[in-house]
Symmetry: C2
Subunit: 348 residues, 2 copies
């Protein structure tokens, strides 16, 4: 409780004490982690943005990164599971791309260490973008003069147009997708009025229930001090067999085990960020839970064995809503053209 005694005190003392609570609650840092071998440049961001929005990275020209991770919205498609090429449905709910740059492992099961690694997955996934091989993607990029020119300018050298460089460009664009200055961030930076009374109660309830045992750090996804690729995992459901587990089939997917086949990884999941969580319904790896208040109830019961009161649920929801940040204004990319023919036109 001591971290929150400041809300009972006068303003100036409160502000002083709030500093002492910085270890529990933190604003997003000013800098995103950037791999040494993939520095951010404006040209690389521009190229990555084009690639991110380009449906020609899918076999039939209908699915781009943005189709399931919508930058104009919550960074997700707000569906339980996504739709890939040929109407195929995925098995897990699309996580948001916003602030993914702060995660220390990617995908629900953490099977990719970096944004670069992650971005190489969907184009080749048969039920997502359906390209037959990395070579086929590179061949397509090489058929688009504007891309060849930009890859050469950004990466230079032999084989500038490569699958690895595509991934580097997309990851670089994604590192610009940060939502700062949420009411929560403004609050922890000293603006007492940034949070409503209910959100402040929710903040206390969140900590009292130990939600932040896992949803810790500036991104509410575990310690940001972990080296990139380390990941921060937790079992879910921690308590199998609850009514929620049965109703929402939470245990059907074995999580990280599916990637590692290590018994210790059964039902282990990367702890997801809670930033903008109010906008990313439906919830959990299978998108089975449709509302945020129900998601809070499920987490309280399945992870902490708490039957949470309606008041606490409502307060925590108000707190979680305060994690919605400001979305930067972004200009649309112009996708480089092919002249006189189409790369996806033959897909009847």
């Amino acid at each position: 409780m001591k971290n929150y005694t400041h809300t009972l005190l006068g303003g100036s003392v409160a502000a002083m004490l709030m500093v002492s609570s910085a270890s529990a609650f933190e604003a997003l840092p000013n800098e995103v982690p950037v791999p040494a071998d993939n520095p951010i440049t404006a040209e690389k961001v521009a190229l990555g943005k084009q690639l991110y929005f380009d449906p020609r990275l899918s076999i039939d020209g209908t699915v781009s990164c943005n189709s399931c991770h919508n930058v104009m919205s919550s960074g997700t498609d707000n569906r339980a599971t996504s739709v890939g090429v040929n109407g195929q449905r995925g098995g897990r709910s699309a996580p948001t791309v916003w602030n993914a740059a702060f995660l220390t492992a990617q995908f629900w099961d953490g099977r990719a260490a970096t944004l670069e690694d992650q971005s190489k997955g969907p184009p080749l996934n048969p039920i997502e973008m359906g390209m037959p091989s990395a070579e086929a993607v590179v061949e397509r990029l090489n058929a688009i003069p504007g891309y060849v020119e930009q890859f050469n300018a950004v990466f230079g050298g032999k084989d500038a147009v490569s699958y690895d460089n595509m991934a580097k460009a997309i990851a670089t664009f994604e590192r610009t997708l940060i939502t700062r200055n949420s009411p929560f961030d403004r609050y922890v930076q000293g603006d007492e009025k940034a949070l409503s009374a209910q959100a402040k109660r929710g903040m206390k309830a969140f900590e009292k229930a130990s939600c932040n045992a896992c949803h810790s750090g500036a991104n509410f996804a575990g310690p940001t001090s972990l080296p990139m690729g380390e990941g921060f995992y937790q079992k879910f459901p921690m308590i199998p067999g609850t009514k929620y587990d049965v109703q929402y089939k939470l245990s059907e997917d074995k999580g990280r085990f599916e990637a590692t086949h290590d018994e210790a990884d059964k039902h282990m999941w990367r702890v997801p960020s809670l930033r903008n969580v109010a906008l990313t319904a439906p919830y959990f790896h299978n998108g089975a839970v449709e509302t945020l208040d129900e998601a809070v109830r499920v987490m309280a019961k399945t992870q902490l064995n708490i039957e949470m009161s309606d008041q606490d649920v409502a307060d925590i929801v108000a707190f979680l809503e305060s994690l919605t940040g400001e979305f930067p204004v972004i200009t649309m990319p112009r996708l480089p053209d092919t002249v006189g023919s189409s790369l996806v036109g033959a897909q009847k």
Copy 2:
């Protein structure tokens, strides 16, 4: 030939004579046609842009206007036919949205008089966006607080959130999607150097072959003086039974007849614009022709009974490439959120 004798003369005389050819070739006018009951305002454009990019106008949240009419690209999806919800394929190729504001009828068969009318079609088409009714669309819009607020601000009055007003906003955004200042436009406005020698030859060949009998006017889609909704139609193929007709199954679709069931409309089609045609492969109502040069050969033979020489085809293609305009820089819309739940999340 007289319209083009200027290319054989010196610069100043050429410039004078070029004015006399203005009746044959025209730059895009400065103003788009705007219906009296739907004036353009910045707020309406902003609302229309959000709606245009919002996949929640489709039943499962996967298809927006932009999915098939991609504003970041050619205004099409560069596919033979498009993919709607549940992997369903349409029967006709998506026309470009760029400069559609200048067309005097919409859809391949001209069955919509205005952009407003056109935009009401796809959301309710079962194989496109698949919404069950206009009421269902309005219900969804009413469930998004940001839309309710904007519809009220833009349209005011009772029932500001309506299907008609949705259409008005989308049409208003589309009226901003104009590509001016193509090499062709700069040429007819007096910049002799804007076109290559080959494009100039192609311009002559285009006129000599009477391509502009139908592809006339500033939008290369027929007289712009026609009242909105009148439309400008032509039979295609004019000469049935050619090898191209057989190979590309051009006669399979009866065109405007399918909409009117009037015998006189059999195989009649709205004359499509040629602006940016180099970017909109594959070609024709069924997207069966994959390259622009083949499309030129097909048109010469099926419409004009001309076996066109490779040189003329190449020259006309160069001219058509000069119709590619400048695409304005557009900021991405932020789609208004629903907080704590999703309107499309239940679509498993």
